[in-house]
């Protein structure tokens, strides 16, 4: 291989000008839409009041009691925790309803329903493309963004966020469309459990803050042991719900920091090997060990968080696990009793 060949080929990785402009337009739109935090909070109160006014459960597609249960069978055991008729918006042509919400503050699942009210709405429903023009954050989504309101100009906890929207095209009719929103954070370390929900209406994109605190119970269990699974950190506690788990730890000291004035969003405070070698298992009451996978995140060293500074592992709960049958946690061979 010649170096010049390599350089020429890297040169060929390019987005066209149209794509470049489109991305910038989305960034600008996001920037323009940013509002001071105080304004947001007053809007939250208004949104909460609007939520209270919604008193009737909208009609879901025939014979389907819960789209969340339908699409995520593991949520059937949390049926009682699903909030119904969460939010409704009506512009005279189209009605948008957040029908269901299931949340443990780390994972948020929502179903959203659009229904035409008049002919104009019917035309809009039939032709509207739920694309990047109305996504605040990501053009990957079909038109929704839900992000934690972490405020501006603050040190943000080490929370990574992902979200996606899927249109349930199998339920699409001439007058209705259905969407499934999936939001996932790496921990609950954000300032507010208010998700910013952006949704298109015939008049343009509307935003509202939805309370994503949810009512899926979360257990916090302290992890105590004399020995440590790594020379770099000591596990402190685990948060466990029927939707997710988060294992927190305290680091033994920042492994490496960047030289100032760099201001990186996150700092990898452990050597690569620590991320790669972690072996973590739930130990079930029948003795079975279930390997856990997930992401590791550190908080910003400047944050001086006094309860944990490392999310050792966090993720959706592995499938087919009854959390009542988890008796222990094993990290790099060190066993923690969870009973």
């Amino acid at each position: 291989m010649k170096k010049t060949d390599l350089i020429n080929q890297f040169d060929s990785i390019n987005a066209d000008e149209n794509t470049k402009d489109k991305i910038w337009n989305s960034i600008s739109e996001k920037s323009v839409n940013a509002k001071p935090k105080l304004v947001r909070k007053s809007f939250i109160i208004a949104a909460a009041a609007a939520c209270l006014l919604v008193c009737s459960m909208p009609v879901v597609a025939n014979s389907i009691k819960s789209l969340l249960n339908e699409k995520y069978p593991e949520t059937v055991v949390m049926q009682e925790n699903i909030q119904k008729a969460v939010y409704e918006s009506n512009d005279g042509h189209v009605k948008m309803t957040v029908d269901e919400l299931l949340s443990d503050e780390m994972i948020v699942l929502m179903t959203v329903h659009y229904e035409a009210i008049d002919e104009k709405g019917k035309d809009w429903i039939a032709n509207h493309k739920f694309e990047s023009n109305i996504a605040l954050i990501s053009s990957r989504n079909a038109g929704f963004g839900i992000v934690p309101d972490m405020g501006d100009n603050t040190i943000i906890h080490g929370v990574n966020v992902s979200y996606n929207t899927e249109e349930l095209t199998e339920y699409k009719t001439d007058t209705e469309r259905w969407f499934l929103l999936h939001y996932e954070a790496s921990s609950r370390d954000y300032d507010s459990a208010q998700g910013k929900f952006a949704y298109p209406m015939t008049t343009g994109v509307e935003t509202v803050f939805i309370d994503t605190k949810g009512n899926v119970p979360v257990k916090t269990i302290e992890l105590k042991k004399d020995e440590v699974p790594s020379e770099y950190y000591t596990p402190t506690h685990i948060e466990l719900s029927k939707l997710s788990f988060v294992i927190y730890a305290m680091q033994h000291g920042v492994y490496e920091t960047f030289s100032e004035p760099y201001h990186y969003g996150s700092r990898w405070i452990l050597p690569d090997e620590e991320y790669e070698k972690i072996a973590c298992f739930f130990v079930m009451e029948n003795g079975e060990k279930i390997e856990l996978e997930g992401g590791m995140n550190s908080t910003h060293p400047d944050e001086k968080n006094n309860y944990s500074d490392l999310v050792l592992l966090s993720n959706k709960l592995p499938e087919n696990i009854d959390i009542e049958t988890i008796v222990g946690l094993e990290i790099n061979g060190v066993y923690y009793d969870l009973t």
């Binding site: 060929s12 987005a15 991305i23 910038w24 940013a34 990898w268």
Partner: protein, 153 residues
């Protein structure tokens, strides 16, 4: 940092950020999304840089972290999800050199790009990626070895 300044950095470093995202994500849609995410973070956090080179380093690290985060997500790993989103790995036909780089593990491809294309020294790459210099040197050596083997096949 005002919007004019960010726009200037966007114009100057868009290609760099896009290429890094593309090397990680292997499809145009995700690369474009993450470029957007990276510059949105720049607007939100308003970091202070004393030179464009520092801004560039910030963009590289942030892009890399954003890609890593997305790739770790369980739902992203689902083939059905990517199929539903209409995302397919971009084909690299008739381009054996780039295909070979493409197939490398990310921990090798990014140093290769930064070293050979962007012209960073190994010490600089180490600082940007928060790795030991020896680690970067080892990865570059390993990448060179892998690329040679791949291209000979």
């Amino acid at each position: 940092m005002n919007s004019i300044e960010i726009k200037r950095l966007y114009e100057k470093y868009f290609d760099t950020v896009y290429r890094i995202c593309f090397l990680y994500m292997k499809n145009e849609a995700d690369a474009a999304d993450i470029v957007q995410d990276v510059f949105c973070r720049m607007i939100k956090r308003s970091p202070v840089f004393d030179s464009d080179e520092k801004a560039k380093a910030w963009l590289i690290v942030t892009a890399s972290n954003c890609c890593k985060t997305l790739l770790k997500k369980w739902w992203y790993k689902l083939t059905e999800y990517n199929e539903a989103m209409g995302k397919e790995k971009t084909e690299m036909s008739d381009n054996s050199v780039l295909t070979a780089v493409w197939e490398l593990d990310k921990k090798y491809s990014l140093p290769v790009y930064l070293y050979y294309y962007e012209g960073y020294k190994t010490a600089e790459i180490a600082e940007i990626l928060n790795e030991k210099q020896s680690t970067i040197q080892t990865r570059l050596a390993k990448a060179r070895e892998l690329l040679r083997l791949e291209l000979e096949e």
